[in-house]
């Protein structure tokens, strides 16, 4: 019996460290899309004349984006958003669906909306040229970079 008491006491003792939560916020409403060449799978820079994201009462728009990485916001008031890409003389779109959940980190940090279950609902791109690599929209607080969600091959 005394061994059992000692064991339980040690369990209590070993888990008695109090740690105040750090404000490590990984929430992001941005979808990261990385662009690649479909031939050699190397990053590809493309000049987009504009990129729009459908939203509630407003539309996000980026003009003249020349990059191999895109960060496009999802509509925080909905569960689907349509991204429209205008490049060269073409216009393509990707409609994504997602779910959102509010998480309270700590009173000193606040409440944040986390997006997950990202999926492709519809697209005008060749479906085989889009790869969904991460269904959660997350930002690394250490380097402020978003995790890649989609890979798009041109």
């Amino acid at each position: 019996m005394s061994k059992a008491v000692l064991l339980i006491f040690l369990i209590f003792l070993s888990s008695s460290c109090f740690n105040k939560g750090d404000c490590l916020i990984t929430a992001s409403e941005l979808t990261r899309i990385d662009l690649y060449q479909k031939t050699d799978k190397q990053p590809k820079t493309i000049l987009f004349l504009s990129i729009t994201a459908s939203g509630y009462g407003t539309t996000f728009q980026q003009d003249s984006v020349n990059s191999s990485t895109l960060l496009i916001p999802v509509n925080p008031n909905g569960d689907t958003t349509r991204f429209t890409f205008n490049y060269g003389e073409k216009s393509d779109f990707i409609t994504v669906s997602y779910s959102s959940a509010t998480r309270i980190i700590a009173p000193d940090c606040g409440a944040f909306t986390y997006y997950s279950n990202l999926g492709i609902v519809n697209t005008s791109f060749d479906r085989s040229l889009i790869k969904l690599v991460n269904t959660r929209l997350l930002r690394n607080p250490a380097n402020n970079k978003n995790a890649t969600n989609l890979q798009l091959f041109f």
């Binding site: 941005l30 309270i104 409440a111």
Partner: protein, 233 residues
């Protein structure tokens, strides 16, 4: 041939040993624990910390009632409480409200103490029914600041606890003491768009194990006189 002989010899030895063991059982004196497992009283109590926290602070309101019944060195325990919390967040506020109960068993290690003082170790199963709401502003880089109000209603939660503590007799019929709790494996059913944050009876769901501490006051109502020299009435 030799292995077969060994087998029969072993079987015979086992048979003889078993028969002699049964014979010894018949000669044992009467069980001295007979009747000791009948409860001798019920102790009713409350948690002083919950009452003080409710009076002193403005972000917690709650109470807790406790009861235990003795069965020899074991005590069947039950706690029932109410818990309401309001937290101011940097970008909003959070409130919850609910009731909880715990049931379990304590094992008393001061069995022969004449005043029914206790040093105990036990376990509990906890269950909570609660609702919660968060109102906050979500600052997005592209859609501006959005106000949100998200609620969870009718949540059902449960957890387990390892407990230890003391009960010390202060006056006849009155005990004081503490219970330290290590709460673990919390689970909540019925959550919607808000990840459950604070479960009444448990605490912050992001922390497991989580610690709890009660300072309790107990009054004992005796049913009958205990066998032996106990005088805790």
């Amino acid at each position: 041939m030799l292995p077969t002989c060994n087998f029969f010899f072993s079987l015979l030895l086992a048979l003889v040993t078993t028969v002699s063991a049964f014979a010894q059982d018949k000669e044992k004196p009467a069980d001295t624990l007979k009747g000791k497992f009948l409860p001798t009283g019920i102790r009713l109590g409350t948690d002083a910390i919950s009452i003080i926290k409710s009076r002193m602070g403005n972000n917690f309101s709650g109470w807790e009632a406790n009861a235990d019944v003795d069965f020899y060195r074991y005590y069947a325990t039950m706690d029932y409480g109410n818990w309401s919390r309001h937290e101011v967040l940097t970008n909003g506020d959070y409130t919850n409200n609910g009731t909880y109960f715990r049931i379990g068993v304590d094992c008393n290690f001061l069995l022969k103490d004449p005043d029914r003082n206790m040093f105990f170790i036990g376990f509990r199963y906890g269950h909570s029914t609660f609702s919660e709401t968060v109102n906050y502003t979500d600052s997005t880089s592209n859609f501006g600041v959005i106000s949100k109000s998200i609620s969870n209603a009718g949540l059902q939660g449960h957890w387990g606890e390892l407990t230890t503590g003391l009960r010390v007799k202060i006056w006849p019929g009155f005990w004081m003491g503490y219970t330290a709790r290590m709460k673990f494996v919390p689970g909540v059913k019925g959550a919607g768009a808000l990840a459950p944050y604070d479960m009444p009876g448990y605490g912050l769901l992001s922390k497991a194990p989580y610690w709890g501490f009660n300072y309790q006051l107990f009054w004992r109502i005796p049913f009958r006189k205990a066998k032996g020299a106990l005088r805790g009435k």
